[in-house]
């Protein structure tokens, strides 16, 4: 056991620093994905609640597709599809071999999946807010934009948050898929460590524990945020 633990030390003999570097990439990817996924999800939600049926059908189709596809397949489609697309675009100007960055591909793919799920959360929250809030904004002489910013959005955030927090937990785990296209995240670094040390069970167990700690820490943070946003609404859920 002592021998195994020494494998986790920092420095040239241990894998501690490599795993830590991988953990940083995992967290960076998850954090970078959220803003993209939220903005896209919000736009998809706006399309879905639009009176224009073509637009709302488009929003629904987006959700159906990206909630139905395996995340791994979405990732490959974005990764290889993006490569082919860029190659064609750049091929118009010159002969260059394009390689899509696996971090960017991962961010796009996971962000699109995140958007499909978060748009549902936004639509649900939006329906719960009710027309009266918009009418109140009109009655106060506020413009549409100000009504959205000051009246609707703050309520929307509070209502959509539990679902979005759940998506964050799913996203943290899904980042591990990007290791398959060679992004040096936590799981990829663990794979490399296993290849060198021939200690698969030990290293994968350590990786699992690190993911578990990430999930547990996130859950604690989420409860704190929900409590804060729930101020003034009676008992916190």
């Amino acid at each position: 056991m002592g021998h195994l633990l020494s494998l986790l030390s920092f420095g040239p003999d241990g894998w501690g620093d490599e795993l830590l570097a991988g953990l940083v990439v995992t967290i960076e990817l998850a954090v970078a994905t959220v803003p993209f996924g939220l903005v896209l999800g919000f736009l998809v939600a706006l399309a879905k609640i639009n009176r224009n049926w073509a637009l709302s059908a488009l929003g629904e189709a987006y959700t159906t597709v990206f909630r139905g596809l395996p995340e791994l397949l979405t990732l490959f489609i974005i990764y290889y599809g993006g490569q082919i697309l860029l190659q064609k675009l750049i091929g118009l100007f010159g002969d260059v071999v394009v390689e899509v960055n696996s971090f960017v591909a991962g961010m796009f793919a996971l962000g699109m999946v995140f958007a499909a799920y978060s748009s549902e959360a936004f639509v649900g929250a939006f329906r719960a807010i009710g027309r009266g809030q918009f009418e109140a904004g009109d009655a106060l002489g506020l413009s549409r934009l100000v009504t959205w910013r000051l009246i609707v959005l703050p309520q929307l955030v509070r209502l959509a948050l539990p679902a979005i927090a759940n998506l964050w937990l799913v996203l943290l785990k899904d980042t591990s898929l990007v290791s398959v296209i060679a992004l040096p995240d936590l799981l990829r670094q663990t794979n490399i460590a296993v290849g060198v040390t021939k200690q698969p069970f030990f290293f994968f167990a350590v990786a699992c524990l690190i993911y578990l700690v990430l999930s547990i820490v996130s859950s604690i943070g989420i409860s704190a945020i929900e409590r804060r946003l729930g101020r003034g609404f009676g008992a916190a859920r």
């Binding site: 397949l73 490959f76 980042t175 799981l187 698969p200 069970f201 699992c208 578990l212 547990i216």
Partner: protein
């Protein structure tokens, strides 16, 4: 484009069958495993309860891909032991490892679904069963589970869909499920359309399941709807 479909279409369909096999096995084995976990989770016994919480927290808090690596490659760490107890043949095969991992994983989620459904039932149901002199097993089988399963039906459907999607991970440990067959075909042809075919197959699978589930739900909840006509 049509060439690729003619050439690799049968492989994709083989892969689709493998995917279905993995998902069906994992869901059924997981359902069996989830019952004791859910009951332990509901039990007043602190040790049982703690064990069940640890189990569900671990399998729901870590990535399925990492779990699959842990079982498939991790088994290699215990090879002499597994050979001694005559289980090595099982862990040597990636397909078995994948089914085992997925079953353990979905058992954690299914246990939570079941626990939620059972704890949602009114206490009177348990008391009524007791008043009738029913034993704990009969109470579970005849009174509690039939009602809990109706509440759990929709979450179960979602869990199967998540499992179909999650099963694509099997391709990473050399199983030729739909995703694995697709990756193989792409690596040989570099024809991107193969990924689109796979996407259509996955979407069709999920959509069919969703519709079957809607029918199933309507049928099983007939007696709860107000009579019409």
């Amino acid at each position: 484009m049509i060439d690729v479909l003619l050439r690799y279409g049968p492989r994709l369909l083989d892969g689709l069958l493998t995917t279905l096999e993995i998902v069906a096995l994992a869901i059924v084995v997981g359902a069996v495993l989830s019952l004791p976990v859910a009951l332990a989770r509901l039990s007043p016994n602190r040790v049982l309860n703690g064990a069940a919480i640890s189990y569900t927290t671990f399998f729901r808090g870590t990535p399925l891909l990492a779990q699959t690596f842990l079982v498939y490659y991790g088994a290699g760490s215990f090879r002499p032991f597994l050979q001694d107890v005559g289980l090595w043949w099982f862990f040597r095969d990636a397909f078995n490892c994948v089914v085992l991992t997925f079953a353990l994983n979905t058992a954690a989620y299914q246990a939570e679904i079941l626990r939620g459904a059972i704890s949602g039932l009114a206490k009177g149901q348990f008391e009524a069963a007791k008043a009738l002199g029913l034993g704990p097993v009969v109470t579970m089988r005849k009174v509690i589970l039939p009602q809990a399963l109706i509440v759990a039906l929709r979450p179960y459907g979602n869990e199967i869909i998540l499992m179909i999607k999650g099963s694509a991970v099997a391709s990473v440990v050399t199983v030729f499920d739909l995703m694995g067959a697709t990756r193989l075909a792409f690596s040989r042809t570099f024809d991107f359309s193969i990924y689109i075919y796979a996407a259509v197959l996955y979407l069709a699978l999920v959509e069919i399941l969703r519709r079957v589930w809607n029918v199933l739900e309507r049928r099983l909840t007939r007696h709860l709807k107000p009579a019409t006509g």
